[in-house]
């Protein structure tokens, strides 16, 4: 059962026009939206959300700090402190909304762009930068925050999430799992197999697809000729498209999907319809393949701006609060900048660490040879 079909049955209680929802004949699929681009609340028959002013402010703060962190990382890359950066600019609502729906016991399997999710899980932003600086391949303890390492091989982590969720179900634990992936990833066989396994085992997993319209230079039409959320139906579980730039809708829909999972109702696919405002990574040049006006149209749907408008209209925050947040952002950026610069290069001999948990004679031999070889320079040898 998709939200689309449900929406067709129930009367809408709000007079507010919400994207395609008011156009049943439209070829545009329906989008769950609770906060319009103009910053007005919108009602939806299936999904609603009650948040305290503190919670609203919290979401806003998360998005602002995440964006600031992201911008700082981009400039650190420009300064040569990082080898690469994958910006989440534009996807803050999808990430913060979905991540704030999680409980501590839930487990997250990210791609390489989920900086906002990491933030909500309590992963220190500095830790995310290690792999982009080139000092490690993943610098945090996944079990500390139930936030798995970034996965670069597209789609792989959806199977890990499914397996993890199968384990959660075996344990009878009151928890759920969320797997993030992109529109491009939806084409990988692994993602399809994750759908199959999760459906067959009724695993408590939410597949959260950030459709940011692009997989590097390829538009989503290169991956599918129908909206991605519809993919789920053919595997026997619901798919929902949510306005990925609407933090309230992302929170509400993800919460609903996680609840389904925890209640034993199995997997859900959430497609967050959003936009990658920046380049794919700092190595990419989007002018080669897309027009500026597309970006401009999405700027009008900015996830932070619309919540800003709401907070102001509903009087949840005054200028002082915004100013304090600005200061907090600056402090975060400063801290990140300083700790990245202070991040030491790894000891070369660490190349031989952690290859095996139980040890390995070949690694020991190579480590010893390497150490002796290195030492030969120190001694003026060779």
């Amino acid at each position: 059962m998709t939200v689309e079909s449900t929406a067709a049955r129930k009367p809408r209680r709000s007079g507010k026009r919400v994207s395609a929802a008011t156009k049943p004949q439209s070829s545009e699929p329906q989008l769950v939206q609770l906060l319009s681009p103009e910053g007005e609340r919108v009602e939806h028959p299936d999904h609603r959300i009650e948040l305290t002013p503190e919670e609203l402010l919290g979401l806003y703060r998360d998005m602002v700090l995440t964006r600031r962190f992201d911008a700082e990382a981009t400039s650190l890359q420009r300064q040569g402190e990082l080898g690469l950066w994958a910006s989440l600019l534009g996807q803050e609502a999808a990430q913060i909304g979905s991540a704030r729906a999680l409980r501590d016991d839930d487990y997250v399997f990210p791609t390489y762009r989920e900086h906002g999710v990491a933030w909500c899980r309590g992963v220190d932003p500095t830790n995310l930068l290690g792999m982009f600086r080139g000092v490690n391949h993943g610098g945090w303890d996944p079990s500390a925050n139930n936030f798995h390492l970034y996965t670069i091989v597209i789609g792989s982590q959806t199977l890990h999430a499914t397996g993890y969720a199968m384990g959660v179900a075996k344990d009878g634990a009151d928890a759920a799992v969320i797997a993030y992936f992109g529109d491009g990833a939806s084409s990988q066989g692994d993602v399809a197999e994750a759908f199959t396994f999760s459906a067959v085992y009724n695993a408590p997993v939410v597949f959260f697809c950030q459709n940011n319209q692009w997989a590097i230079s390829e538009p989503t039409e290169r991956q599918s000729r129908v909206p991605l959320y519809q993919r789920a139906q053919g595997y026997g579980f619901p798919g929902v498209r949510v306005d990925g730039n609407d933090v309230l809708a992302c929170l509400a829909v993800t919460r609903w999907a996680l609840e389904r999972a925890r209640r034993g109702e199995g997997p859900t696919l959430v497609e967050a319809f959003t936009y990658r405002m920046g380049a794919h990574t700092t190595s990419d040049d989007p002018t080669k393949y897309r027009h500026d006006d597309e970006r401009a149209a999405w700027e009008a749907k900015d996830p932070i701006q619309r919540l800003h408008t709401l907070l102001q209209r509903e009087g949840h925050a005054d200028e002082a609060w915004f100013a304090a947040l600005e200061e907090e952002s600056d402090a975060l950026a400063k801290r990140v900048r300083e700790s990245v610069r202070a991040m030491p290069d790894p000891d070369p001999v660490s190349i031989f660490d952690n290859i095996y948990a139980d040890g390995n004679s070949l690694v020991d031999e190579e480590r010893a040879q390497f150490t002796a070889y290195q030492a030969s320079f120190a001694e003026g040898g060779n």
């Binding site: 303890d141 792989s156 890990h160 969720a165 066989g189 692994d190 199959t196 070949l362 690694v363």
Partner: protein, 326 residues
Amino acid sequence: MAVTKLPLAKALNESLRKALEDDPKVLIMGEDVGKLGGVFRVTDGLQKDFGEDRVIDTPLAESGIVGTAIGLALRGYRPVVEIQFDGFVFPAYDQIVTQLAKMHARSLGKIKLPVVVRIPYGGGIGAVEHHSESPEALFAHVAGLKVVSPSNSSDAYWMLQQAVHSDDPVIFFEPKRRYWDKSEVDTEAIPGPLHAARTVREGTDLTLAAYGPMVKVCVEAAAAAAEEGKSVEVIDLRSMSPIDFDAVQASVERTGRLVVVHEAPVFYGSGAEIAARITERSFYHLEAPVLRVGGFHAPYPPARVEEEYLPGLDRVLDAVDRSLAY
């Protein structure tokens, strides 16, 4: 009684049963491992006794099997997954090489993935395409994996126990044409290290090194050679990654000659690694170049010519003769 004579497949079955009994976190996963007990019956009866929750028939998708096993391991389980035949491990290759092998290092040691991937491998059973291959080199080249293969029932029993207990991923190659061969298993023995080679037969003129299905052939070759007055030592390597080079080196430095035998193609096979390393270690001890006997650079052929393709007694003896002729 702790000592029984068991077919190799049954020893594996007992080993899995023990693993399931000892540790509730151990799971069996794969295609047809449940009611059917696997196409070779290695998991026979296990689902009946341990339930569908622990012995899990999976969808027909090898990447999914290994990928979800990784997820289960992240959750604290110890999955033992079965790949139905050697030639069907490749859909899972990406998950094995880019995820299973590397996650421990990627996490700076914080993640451990105690996953065993069981693969019936090798030829000699008259099967159709994809059912007779020996792809071990394709795993041994990859850091983060351990690759082993038992040649007899005792090793089958104990090495599988050790693989399950290992906190590292282990690719466990089962010599399928030896599944029905019976030999003694002492279930109360104290096994040696998983990656140590074992001298099967002592000799002074030449060393034969092999693993899995070829150990039997080498032992027979050594016996035949003995009749001709040649004293051939046979080493069962047991582990293809890591390789117990010390044991091979020690033997070669006594015999002066080495022939490595495997079913897998010679080109880029494990014999190459052994030849290269032993030659480097024991350069002045070798009376002859290390010779390799193995498969050709050809797809595994149709069953009716597999006996010509597989290294048999004669081809091993031919290499022994060639080595001794130096």
